[in-house]
């Protein structure tokens, strides 16, 4: 048969575009997975540092906060923590929304609202740290 050397396939009355539509861009899933792990690994030492740092600043005054954030090391670690946290958060919440929100319109709205909230919260934290420390 002339077809014998072709790859296995299922005949159906669907165009290649119709079959691919809605499945997402190629490799986007593995990129999402990888960045989620990357930020997770970064957050392991950063979280440990953050817990000790907060324990050392319980009941701090605003002046204490300024002095603390004024250290370049604190500022760098704090900014790294904020960026890794919110990046990891939006990746995780994206998966949650994809799993539980089934209606297309609601899912799009939830996704946009969640991403916007993560970006705005991250910016608010970053600007606050810079304003305190610079």
């Amino acid at each position: 048969m002339s077809d014998s050397n072709k790859a296995p396939h299922v005949d159906m009355l669907r165009s290649p575009l119709g079959r691919a539509r809605g499945l997402g861009a190629a490799h986007a899933g593995s990129h999402h997975w990888w960045v989620q792990r990357l930020t997770a690994v970064a957050l392991v030492p950063l979280t440990v540092w953050f817990i000790f740092a907060v324990l050392g600043h319980l009941g701090a005054s605003q002046a204490d906060m300024m002095a603390w954030m004024g250290s370049p090391i604190t500022m760098v670690l704090m900014l790294a923590l904020i960026i890794a946290t919110f990046h990891h958060l939006q990746l995780g919440l994206q998966t949650v929304i994809e799993d539980y929100v089934h209606e297309d319109g609601t899912r799009l709205f939830a996704m946009l609202a969640m991403k916007a909230a993560c970006v705005l919260l991250a910016l608010a934290c970053i600007i606050s740290v810079l304003r305190l420390g610079l």
Binding site: M12, R14, R19, G22, R37, A40, V41, L43, V44, T47, I51, L55, G56, L58, G59, A60, S61, Q62, A63, M65, M66, M69, T85, F86, L89, G92, L93, V96, L121, A124, C125, I127, S128, V129, R131, L132
Partner: protein, 143 residues
């Protein structure tokens, strides 16, 4: 059917009626093994930590705004409701931290065997409780 992939989810029951196949995991049917409870708790604690970032953002923004605004934030954190939030947040963070490390070890290809799988689950639970209590003992001592 909205999608051709839905065809795989439709089947006939014993009466010959077309029904949608149930999605796994059947949380109403299965008993709850520790690994299943931890799996859903990992997601739940992640979402809880997401809500908790609101508190961290308030804390930082208040500090950058004015001493009065920071005093308000510190007052809320030291209030019973604030302490409850902070305690829940510590527990969720510690759980997600240790459970996340368990996930990373799986990603490296280790820990899937039956005793290791359950032992690491209990190790996560114990580590969460111990570190959460330890953080609060130290925290309340130095506050």
């Amino acid at each position: 059917m909205r999608d051709v992939r839905d065809a795989l989810m439709v089947a006939r029951n014993t009466d010959g009626k077309l029904v949608r196949r149930p999605l796994s995991p059947h949380i109403q049917v299965y008993r709850w093994p520790i690994s299943m409870a931890l799996s859903i708790l990992h997601r739940a604690s992640g979402v809880a930590l997401g809500v908790g970032t609101l508190l961290m953002t308030w804390w930082l923004v208040a500090a950058a705004t004015s001493p009065a605004a920071f005093d308000t934030a510190q007052w809320f954190i030291a209030s019973p409701l604030g302490l409850l939030c902070l305690f829940g947040w510590t527990g969720a963070l510690m759980f997600h931290f240790f459970s996340g490390i368990r996930h990373l070890i799986w990603d490296l290809g280790h820990g899937f065997e039956s005793p290791a799988y359950n032992n690491s689950a209990w190790a996560v639970v114990i580590a969460t409780v111990v570190t959460t209590v330890l953080i609060w003992v130290v925290g309340l001592a130095v506050w």
